[in-house]
């Protein structure tokens, strides 16, 4: 707060400075410089009298400023742009796995890889638990206009899959309400269109992968480009269920072998 006089002074000085230098007045500039200097000295003096710092709270939230700067204090993400994903309420096992995958270079995104590089498994789990426990409202994101046909195709893929191409329905793993399953499977509703489609794309380009067998990579590679658009648009436009929490553990039987689920499932 007490730096404000300095900022205010500098702003005023700049007004003066611009006017003066426009007239090429050397004396004016010297005077201006002195005013700035005196301003800085005064501000310095004010600083010296300050309590050096506010108390820094000993909370996890304070410690993880590197995470919350982009993902939000409660992990709400940036639903408007879809760029920084929501973390709030996602199952803790899933979130911890993502941190580990960034650390191991299985998920590729430089800033995330750099941030998590030195974190211990214990600290990553603690951070994952923090975001998993956040309960903040979902904000709808813009959905592109797609044809009725494409929307129907999306609904078909999500709820029934496409057996002719060995594509299981999303709901088979992500829960009957598509809100995820504890502790390792994330929900798919309430996510922005751009986020879903870019993740499906990332599985195909290998910028997102996970421990083998990587079932989501297999599924993403069985989807056509228009299937990705269809699924993403249908999921992003779906009305949110009243209860957005993930289903209880062990309530689904995944149709594929998945490394992230300790290879449960009965084959594909």
């Amino acid at each position: 707060m007490r730096l404000e006089p300095l900022a205010a002074l500098s702003r005023v000085d700049w007004g003066i400075m611009k006017g003066l230098s426009a007239k090429c007045s050397r004396a004016g500039r010297v005077l201006g410089a002195w005013v700035v200097l005196v301003g800085i000295l005064l501000a310095d003096k004010a600083n010296a009298q300050d309590v050096a710092h506010p108390d820094i709270p000993d909370t996890l939230q304070q410690r993880i400023a590197a995470c919350t700067a982009c993902h939000g204090v409660h992990g709400e993400g940036t639903p408007e742009s879809g760029f920084f994903p929501r973390l709030a309420g996602k199952p803790a096992g899933y979130l911890a796995r993502q941190l580990k995958d960034f650390q191991d270079g299985l998920r590729k995104y430089g800033p995330m890889e750099y941030t998590v590089k030195q974190l211990s498994p214990a600290y990553m789990h603690e951070i994952a638990e923090y975001f998993a426990a956040q309960d903040v409202p979902y904000v709808r994101s813009p959905v592109p206009n797609v044809s009725t046909q494409l929307r129907q195709r999306g609904e078909m893929l999500v709820t029934h899959g496409d057996p002719s191409r060995q594509i299981p329905p999303c709901a088979a793993c992500h829960g009957s309400q598509l809100t995820g399953v504890q502790p390792n499977i994330p929900g798919l509703v309430g996510l922005p269109y751009d986020y879903i489609s870019s993740q499906l794309g990332s599985w195909r380009t290998k910028t997102r992968s996970t421990v083998a067998p990587d079932c989501m990579s297999e599924i993403a590679n069985r989807l056509s480009d228009s299937d990705i658009t269809a699924v993403s648009a249908w999921l992003a436009s779906r009305e949110l269920p009243a209860d957005m929490h993930a289903q209880a553990p062990d309530t689904v039987t995944p149709p594929l072998h998945c490394g992230v689920l300790s290879d449960k499932g009965d084959g594909a």
């Binding site: 900022a7 800033p111 941030t115 214990a122």
Partner: protein, 427 residues
Amino acid sequence: MKRMTIAVIVLLLIAGGWWLFRAETRQPVSPSASKVDGATLKDPALIAKGHYLAIVGDCASCHTAQGGERYAGGRVLPTPFGSIPSPNITPDHGTGLGEWSFEDFWQALHSGKGRHGEFLYPVFSYTSFTKVTREDALAIFAYLQSLAPVRAPAQAPELEFPYSVRTSLKAWRALYFREGEFQRDASKSDAWNRGAYLVQGLGHCNECHAARDSLGGQQGSASLAGGQIPAQNWYAPDLSMQANGGLAGWSEQDIVDLLKTGQSTRGTAFGPMAEVVAESTQHMHEDDLRAIATYLQSLPPRPAAVVATSELDTRAILAQGAKVYAQRCADCHGKDGNGVAGIYPPLNGNSSVNEPTGINATRVVVLGGFAPVTEGNPRPYSMPPFAQQLSDADVAAVVSYIRRSWSNKASIVMERDVVKYRHTPID
């Protein structure tokens, strides 16, 4: 007469070429023919000692790929001459050190040559490792041979010509490499000698903390006087603790704290040093850390830095920097730039803020990040990355501001520098 001169020059060139490009070969020593018998290498005490020394030397950092098996190699090390992947040093037959004898290992560590006598690229820091004693090298070899073998074939280096021709290293070695074990200085204490041995040898601190010339050599640079790490774009600060040194004002305890926990009252490790602390120094014995501090205290004072007075009008940029600082930085680092002890590092008098290039402060503002996780600081605080929130101009302004505020008198940073360092690949 003229003909004679030309003939002499041509002969000299041929001789020089022969000297330079004649491949040196050596017959590998098989483990069965080694003077070190198998039982010695299986001695648990020797293996335990080697384990500790491998941590001190931070071998795993370079010899482990991201997410890969420890010591199985594959981390690609960027250099200005091309990329060099580290080799597998687990005892796998065929892809690792399975067929190596101690004589082969010693030749690599001490002389910078492979099993067959081929020159090794100095990205493997044998310029420092040559100082390691034979005893310590044997312990490290015994430890590496005790690891579970991992099958991981070597990848080929991707180097530009002429660096791709290994024999060209002969000239490099003649210029920059002096082979020889560490020699004790009897006039100094045991702690000083131990510290000097660790810093100059196995710890290979000088490989980052001294400037490199255009050929990647360090012959002309003052030892541990700081330098830019080529290709990675970080600045490893001067380590002198005396007048004008990068660590002037640091106490022995500050050095020990930083190496042990990742932070001290004077600064926090980040970037490549965070990795060194996490993987290596936090696991070192207290007396070894104190020995390092003892040795660093003996580094000479440095000449006062001359900061070129800018011909630009810097008032606007500093005023803008003050504004950004008040909004984004002061809550944690304090208006006085002194940080919060044990939580946020001071910027005032911080060697990484004041280093000559401004790279470190610029990249830390852009990247943010956590202090290293260590046993002494298992849940570190962190700094937000400002890459998405601050423009290049604002980053330049706030970095210039912190480099010229309080007791800091470093040069300002230009927007064009921020553009460059914002996009340095992260590794």
